[in-house]
Structures are given as structure tokens and as C-alpha cells.
């Protein structure tokens, strides 16, 4: 790189890719640095859920709705095919990232759950979500192989899916076309600060990169990047397992899950929770995920978790009973105590922007996050109020308490 970038994005996962893309498109000189490859962390271990359906009204849902719009636009963005595809016309980012606007279907196994789901959906609808109640007799039309035991559900046409590693990689490829530089296999070892504590660049294992702004898009490892600038951002890992079946002919059309999932996502419990989201993929396998446990970075296989995922998937789609699970994988979602990401400039360290802590929703929320970060970087008015995502909100309580003390 001949000149210093305007911003260093730490992390080449989905969120880092989106930050780089929108910042580069806004005219900033961007450098993306990651100690590993593209999509080496949680992005490479996710299912690629772009969900509005699982979010209750509030800032996360607003961000999901903004992102859903942006995903639609991104999906149509022209992109060069890869060399191995042979000569041919331009394709789209969506095709390369296996984007599918397939919609979600949330189902309930009894009337009580269905009532709760419909109340939840009505509140979502008031917040701008398209949520269409589905009667028992209409379920088969949407999902011919769904168990008849489900009493009804809600159809969410805005839910969509991507292959997350491809999405991150192709978005970074587009960012590079807008001038971004991607430095892989380079580890950020510290954040440099100057007068007034202001960010002046990053140190890496290969040298230093001077830049007036740094974006912490390090996902599950975001706490360590924050700590290197002497601030606390309590990002913690929440383990998830995903089961992958053998490739099948198309069998499942939507992202289908039981209404209990909504309660799991919002749960504060450290215990194992599973509520299987079942979906087909462009490549053929059905994905069944994902469990949620807070066990640190423990990679130990848990057959009990896989059993529950399998049981829930079979309960939704009895035909899956004979289908082999071909593999399982695990990942660690980055979560913050209030289940909202940290997005925006850190008031404690001018020039340090955070874009992490999206828990299991990072793929879906990435475009909105990237756009908001780009707007914050360029000093534009942001499309959303960033107050709920303030990175210092976990210290605010303590300092307020201290201030209130006599």
C-alpha cells in the first residue's frame, strides 16, 4: 500500500467484509487485516441465516430490517464470475454467495404456542416485518414434507439465506474492486494511540499500519481487540453445533423452525438450548442448527446436543429420519450480555469503532452494520440511532452507580 489507509478493519469475517465494502464504496481507503483467512472464525462456522423472524421489536429488529433491504440490493449487485466458471456474462453477488430469498416458516406444535407466536408476529408486523399467519391446512402447501402435527405457523417472506463464507469472500472481493486492501495472515497485536488517546493506527506482527480509524470486527475475539485499546467490551462465546445431512434433492423450501427458537435466542441461560432451524442449501445438504451453550471455547463433542438437534429436525420433518447426518460442526457466537451488538465509535477511545458481538445474527446483520459504520466513519448521519449499540454501555451502569453513590 502506497499511502496510509483511512481505516483499518480488524477481521475478515462477514461483518468485517461488510464494513470494508461500505467504507470503500463511501470513498475511504480501507485496509482489512485478519490473522487467519477470510471467514476463518464464526463466519465459517455459521449457517448463513438472514432472519427477521426471530427478532422481537427493538433495535436489533430494526437493524435486521435495514440489513434485509441491503441484502436484497447486494444480491443484485453485478459481479465478475470466477475464472474457473469459464468465460461468461457477469453474474451477481447473490448468485456467487448462494443468496436465496426463500423466506422463513415458524411453526407451532400446539395451540398455546401458536397463540404466543401469533402475538409475537403481530408485534413484529407493527414494527415493519412481513408476517403472514399460516393455518394448519395451509402448511403443506408451503412445506409438503412438514409433519402434520404442527398446528399452524407464521410465514416470513423477508427471511433469506446465504453461504456465509462465500458471502464474506465475495463481498471482500467487491470491496477490493473499490480499492480496499485485504491483508490476510497478519495478526493485529495492538492499537496505537496518540494525543488525547486518539487512535493512530495498529501494530501487527508484520509492522504497523498508520490510520486515523480502526474498526473492531473481530467477532468472538472482539474483546481482545478492545482490550488492546484498554477498554472493556465483554464479548463472550456461545457455542453452537450444526448438523449437516447428506446431499438431498430439494425437500425443504424455507427456513423452518419451531416457535420455541425465539425464546432460546433471547434466553439468558447458560444451559444448553436447542431449537433446530432446518433448511435446505443450494449445495444439497440440509442444515440443522443450532444449539446454544455458554461453555467458553470448549470444542468437546456433545452427542446429547446432536441428539436433540436431530430429534427436533425429525419432529418437524419425519422424512429426515432416514436421512444420514454426514457431519457436524461447531462454532462460537460472539455475544454481549444484552444480546445486542456493539456498533459505532467508542467514546472512550476516539477513532476506535466497534462492529462485533452480533451473536448468531452476524451474517444477517452485517450489511446494516457495515453501512452504519461507514456512515459513522465519514461523519454522515446514520440511518439508525446507534445509541442502543453504544460500545461503552456495559460500563455506563457501573459509572452511573458510582456517580450516584454519596
Amino acid at each position: 500500500m502506497t499511502e496510509a489507509p483511512d481505516v483499518v478493519v480488524v477481521g475478515a469475517g462477514m461483518v468485517g467484509a461488510a464494513c470494508a465494502y461500505y467504507a470503500a464504496r463511501a470513498g475511504l481507503a480501507v485496509a482489512v487485516v485478519d490473522r487467519g483467512p477470510v471467514a476463518g472464525g464464526t463466519t465459517g462456522a455459521g449457517e448463513g441465516n438472514l432472519l427477521v423472524s426471530d427478532k422481537e421489536p427493538g433495535p436489533e429488529l430494526d437493524l435486521a430490517l435495514l440489513s434485509a433491504q441491503l441484502w436484497t440490493r447486494l444480491a443484485a449487485a453485478p459481479a465478475r464470475p470466477l475464472a474457473s466458471a469459464g468465460p461468461g456474462p457477469d453474474t451477481t453477488f447473490g448468485a456467487l454467495a448462494e443468496y436465496e430469498a426463500k423466506g422463513g416458516l415458524v411453526v407451532a406444535s400446539d395451540e398455546q404456542r401458536l397463540d404466543a407466536l401469533c402475538v409475537f408476529a403481530a408485534a413484529q408486523a407493527a414494527a415493519g416485518v412481513v408476517a403472514v399467519p399460516v393455518r394448519h391446512d395451509e402448511l403443506a402447501e408451503l412445506e409438503p414434507h412438514l409433519s402434520r402435527d404442527q398446528v399452524g405457523g407464521v410465514h416470513y417472506p423477508q427471511d433469506a439465506q446465504v453461504q456465509p463464507a462465500l458471502a464474506a469472500a465475495h463481498l471482500l472481493r467487491l470491496a477490493r474492486e473499490s480499492g480496499a486492501v485485504v491483508r490476510l495472515g497478519e495478526t493485529v497485536t495492538g492499537i496505537e494511540r496518540g494525543a488525547g488517546g486518539r487512535v493512530t493506527g495498529v501494530r501487527t506482527d508484520r509492522g504497523r499500519i498508520a490510520a486515523p480509524a480502526v474498526v473492531n470486527a473481530a467477532g468472538t475475539w472482539g474483546a481482545a481487540i478492545a482490550a488492546s485499546a484498554d477498554v472493556v467490551l465483554p464479548v463472550l462465546p456461545r457455542r453452537g453445533f450444526v448438523l449437516v445431512t447428506a446431499p438431498l434433492p430439494p425437500l425443504i423450501r424455507h427456513k423452518v423452525y419451531a416457535a420455541d427458537y425465539v425464546a432460546d435466542v433471547a434466553s439468558d441461560s447458560a444451559d444448553l438450548q436447542t431449537s433446530a432451524v432446518v433448511e435446505g442449501t443450494a449445495a444439497g445438504p440440509v442444515l440443522i442448527g443450532a444449539s446454544r451453550e455458554r461453555v467458553g471455547f470448549d470444542r468437546t463433542l456433545s452427542v446429547a446436543v446432536l441428539r436433540r438437534l436431530a430429534a427436533q429436525a425429525v419432529a418437524l420433518f419425519p422424512r429426515l429420519a432416514d436421512v444420514p447426518a454426514m457431519r457436524a460442526y461447531r462454532g462460537f457466537r460472539p455475544y454481549l450480555p444484552d444480546h445486542l451488538p456493539a456498533i459505532g465509535e467508542d467514546p472512550r477511545v476516539p477513532g476506535l469503532f466497534h462492529a462485533c458481538g452480533h451473536e448468531g445474527a452476524g451474517i444477517g446483520l452485517a450489511p446494516g452494520t457495515g453501512l452504519l459504520i461507514a456512515q459513522a466513519l465519514t461523519g454522515e448521519k446514520t440511518d439508525m440511532d446507534l445509541a442502543p449499540f453504544r460500545p461503552d454501555r456495559f460500563e455506563a451502569g457501573e459509572s452511573a452507580a458510582e456517580g450516584a453513590a454519596p
Partner: protein, 529 residues
């Protein structure tokens, strides 16, 4: 979808190849309650895979080496099965092994091949003897029907008495090639050529290892004599360049190479054939051990194997391993490792019974004291046995004193190391790939797609290349392309790709129907002693 949970045992042995087979016999000799789960139809593993019972072979060992050794072990194994000391579960495919809350281990298996059911077996300790599968390297045409693995051709011949073609070229590297070629010709196939990548002159670098293993030399000489009798030419320092054919293989082009494996110009020839049996050594099957957290190490040829101590204990308390999964070394070595493991297991259980009687669960006692330096009686840390040990061993009913076993083991390991040095994974093969050559068979990922992932998408190492191309994500879970993909990525990144820090993780050791997975239990707690 039935799920069977079996009573707990002292030890579950996974795999009934030479290592597991001998380990089970030795453990049962010492009075342990043993369960053996094996994918095969009869004990013996791939090495002693034998004609299916219904074929009623009068000379089942006619296609084997060392059949008398097998028969002797088989007799002891069968006696233990008959007495109930060993519970033997054939055609059981183990998909996971896990530590359970009560202590000990649960081993989850699928019984049967087509209509399978689930079975979970629990035990205080585990002996993993999961063997190996053949290492493969891609070349243009390697996905054509009729191109088979050398070991697979051998397995189907030993098992079902059928050869893959009438005219079979045998190629790759390693001692298995001569064995397979000899079997094929003696079963009526024509072998127009054995194509061996290695340079036989390298054997001269290991005079000691060869001289100390005369039995191995005799075995090798036997195969060579068979090949000479059938006039099978053996081309050393040769490589398969390409397999030709439209719907199936019709010919192969082979060529002389330099020492680095690169083709020498003008030294290729095309051989008509209707099958090609190919292999490049063995890769250990480590899924279960890796998920349990057992430490691994890399062999000189780059393959991952389990790290074990003198008693075949892995780094995880309560888990022993024997056979190819602890280092590729052949059936004789595996038998010895199995015996050592069985004796060590017996000693561990004895200590537990003496100390822990009734106060601790067996597994808890083993976890507390089974490892960490307390060895088999009489075996010092460096592996020498006291004179008293032999008597102890005899009293226990194991066949040979540990000291002698340890000496044999180190001699055979030296031989195995020499073989690996003579038959390394050859170089030069990546030069022969074309952009449309499939590197991953299952997901049909060509070299060009992997190049795109590296040059355009930001893959810097094998895992990201897999995520971005699906190479290694298919049915075989990267078993067939597991050697090739990292090499290809390393080459495309100009050698910048870091070599893997650990073997591949495959939480499911084989595919499991979701209905069976859904019904899997933890099984009963280990049997109190």
C-alpha cells in the same frame, strides 16, 4: 429405528483388525469384560479380511500372508467369545465415542449396512484400534470408473473373490503395491505393470532395519517371486500421469520421473488396461480419538497418528490405542501393540480394583490413577521390563513377556520408519493436474476452483479453501482428498500456507441416520465392580 444400550464393560475395543483383535484377547485373557465393535463381517481387519462365510472357502488363507498367525489369534478370540468374556459386535460402524457423566465412555455405533439400527456400548476404558485407509493423490482421469484403490481391490478380492478388471495396472507407492499385484495375478488377473514412485536404491540407506526384520524380507521376497513367476514388470521411479477413457478406464499413461517425482521428458508409455489400482500409503483413522482430545503427532510422511506411550496409552486417561492409528507399521506390529495395550489395560483395572474397591466408580478410579506414570507392573518408563515381569505376564495368561514385546515393537517400528523413508508421498503430482482435474471427488471440485479460492477469495489454508469450494465437504468428509487439498493450497499460496496444527476434525466418524441419532442414549452407567 431401534436403539440398543448394552451393559457396561471394562473395556470397549473399537476395531477388530490385528491391533484390536490382539488387545481384546489380551484383555480378556486377564479377566476383563470386553466388548469389541467392528465394521467388518469377521475379525481380522483389512489385512486379514477373508472370504465371506457363505462363500465356503476351504483355503481361506490362500490369498493372505501370515494366515497361521491369524488362525492362532482367531482361535483365542473365538474361545473368549464362546465363554462370554468378549462380546463381539460385527458390522458395527462406530460414529462417536464420548466421555460420559458417570465416568467412562459411551461408544455409539450403527449396526448393519443398509437397514441399520443404533447401539450404544459403555465401558470404563477404551481401546481404539481404528486402523487406516489408503492415501490418495489426484491425477487426470482418477475419477473414471475402474480406477480403484489398491487396498480396495485387495479387500474385494479377499472378501468376495472378485478382481476389478481383467487387466489391472497397479500404481502408487508403498509395500502394499507388490502385495496387491501378487494377489491379483494369483487370482487370475493380468497385471501389465506395477508402477512404483519410489526409488529402490533408498533401501540401501536402511540396512539395519532390514537385517533386523528377516521375516519382512522373506514376505517381500515372496511377493517378488510371485510377480516374477507371472512376469509382472515393476517400474520403479515411475508415476501415473493420466488415466484415459470415456465411461471407464481404458488405458493409463505412466512415465519415468526424477528423484523429486517430476516427469522425465520422452519417458512415458501408455498401457491398455480395464482397471487401475492405485495407492500412496496409509492414513490413520483418528476421528474418535481426535474428538476425545487424544494428542496426535505427525509421521515423517506427514500423516497424523496418535501419540501413545510404551503401554499404548493415549494422552487421555482411560483411552488406549493400538495398530495403524498409532503409526503405520503393518499387522505384526499391530498385534504386538494390541497385546501391550491389553496387558496395560489389565494392569490398570487391577490397580483400580485393589485400591478403589467399592468406593469409586471404576472410571473415576482409572481417571485418577490409570495414567500419569503408573505403568504396567515391571515396565519401567523407558520400556525395559524387570525379570519378574515375564512370570507375571505368563501367570496372567498373556502370551509373551512385555519386555520381548517391547523389543519386537521397536524393531518393527524401525522397519516401518525405513519403509516410510523409502516410500514417501511422491512429489511432482501437482504438475500433472489440469485446471479441470477434480481434486475433491465427492463434491467434484476441480483444481481451478481451488485456485480461484486462493487467488480471488482469500483462502490461505486448507480449511478456508474447503469452506469456499466445498472440497472435502462431501460424503467422504475429505478422506480421499485430505492429502491433496493442503498440498495444492500450499503450492497455490507459494508455500505461505501454514501446515495444519491438528488433524481434521470429524465429529461424526461416519454418517448416521437422523432418526437413529435422535434416539441415541448415553447407555447405562459403567458396571460397578
Amino acid at each position: 429405528m431401534s436403539e440398543t444400550a448394552d451393559a457396561a464393560y471394562d473395556v470397549v475395543v473399537v476395531g477388530a483388525g490385528p491391533g484390536g483383535f490382539a488387545g481384546a484377547v489380551a484383555a480378556a485373557d486377564a479377566g476383563l469384560a470386553v466388548a469389541v465393535l467392528d465394521a467388518g463381517s469377521a475379525p481380522g481387519g483389512q489385512f486379514w479380511r477373508q472370504p465371506a462365510a457363505a462363500l465356503r472357502a476351504r483355503r481361506p488363507g490362500a490369498l493372505h500372508h501370515g494366515w497361521r498367525t491369524y488362525a492362532a489369534w482367531r482361535g483365542r478370540f473365538d474361545a473368549h467369545v464362546a465363554s462370554g468374556a468378549v462380546a463381539y459386535f460385527a458390522e458395527h460402524h462406530v460414529w462417536a465415542a464420548e466421555r460420559i457423566a458417570e465416568g467412562g465412555f459411551a461408544v455409539h455405533a450403527l449396526a448393519g449396512v443398509a437397514r441399520s439400527s443404533g447401539r450404544t456400548v459403555t465401558a470404563a476404558t477404551l481401546l481404539l484400534a481404528t486402523g487406516a485407509y489408503e492415501r490418495q493423490l489426484p491425477f487426470p482421469g482418477w475419477t473414471l470408473p475402474g480406477v480403484v484403490t489398491a487396498g480396495g481391490a485387495q479387500a474385494q478380492l479377499k472378501d468376495s473373490l472378485v478382481v476389478p478388471g481383467r487387466r489391472v495396472v497397479v500404481a502408487g507407492t508403498g509395500p502394499l503395491l507388490l502385495t496387491v499385484a501378487a494377489s491379483l495375478v494369483s487370482a487370475g488377473a493380468e497385471v501389465p505393470a506395477v508402477v512404483e514412485a519410489a526409488d529402490p536404491l533408498r533401501y540401501a540407506r536402511h540396512p539395519g532395519a532390514l537385517v533386523r526384520n528377516p521375516g519382512k524380507l522373506v514376505e517381500g521376497a515372496g511377493y517378488a517371486a510371485t510377480l516374477a513367476r507371472y512376469r509382472v514388470p515393476v517400474h520403479t521411479r515411475h508415476a501415473v500421469v493420466e488415466a484415459h477413457g470415456d465411461r471407464w478406464v481404458e488405458a493409463v499413461t505412466v512415465a519415468k520421473t526424477d528423484r523429486a517425482g517430476r516427469l522425465l521428458p520422452g519417458r512415458s508409455r501408455t498401457i491398455a488396461c480395464d482397471a487401475l489400482a492405485v495407492g500412496y500409503g496409509l492414513d490413520a483413522q483418528l476421528e474418535l480419538a481426535v474428538e476425545l482430545g487424544c494428542e496426535t503427532r505427525r509421521e515423517p510422511d506427514g500423516g497424523w497418528v496418535l501419540a501413545v506411550d510404551d503401554e499404548q496409552r493415549t494422552s487421555v486417561a482411560g483411552v488406549w490405542a493400538a495398530g495403524e492409528s498409532t503409526g503405520i507399521g503393518g499387522a505384526q506390529l499391530a498385534l504386538i501393540e494390541g497385546e501391550l495395550a491389553g496387558a496395560s489395560l489389565a494392569a490398570a483395572h487391577r490397580r483400580r480394583t485393589v485400591r478403589g474397591a467399592g468406593r469409586q466408580s471404576p472410571a473415576a478410579a482409572l481417571a485418577a490413577g490409570g495414567h500419569a506414570g503408573r505403568g504396567m507392573p515391571g515396565v519401567a518408563a523407558e520400556g525395559r521390563a524387570s525379570p519378574a515381569t515375564a512370570a507375571t505376564a505368563r501367570a496372567r495368561g498373556t502370551s509373551v513377556a512385555p519386555s520381548l514385546l517391547l523389543r519386537r515393537r521397536s524393531r518393527l517400528r524401525a522397519f516401518a520408519a525405513a519403509l516410510q523413508d523409502v516410500h514417501p508421498v511422491p512429489g511432482g503430482w501437482t504438475d500433472r493436474l489440469r485446471d479441470d482435474t477434480e481434486v475433491c471427488r465427492c463434491e467434484e471440485v476441480p483444481l481451478g476452483a481451488i485456485r480461484d479460492a486462493v487467488t480471488e477469495l482469500g483462502a490461505t489454508e486448507p480449511r478456508s479453501a474447503k469452506l469456499l469450494t466445498r472440497a472435502g465437504m462431501g460424503w467422504c468428509q475429505g478422506r480421499m482428498c485430505g492429502t491433496a487439498v493442503p498440498c495444492v493450497v500450499a503450492e497455490l499460496t507459494g508455500g505461505a500456507a501454514p501446515s495444519a496444527a491438528s488433524p481434521p476434525s470429524r465429529p461424526l466418524a461416519c454418517p448416521v441416520p437422523l432418526g437413529i441419532l435422535a434416539g441415541t442414549g448415553d447407555g447405562p452407567a459403567p458396571r460397578p465392580t
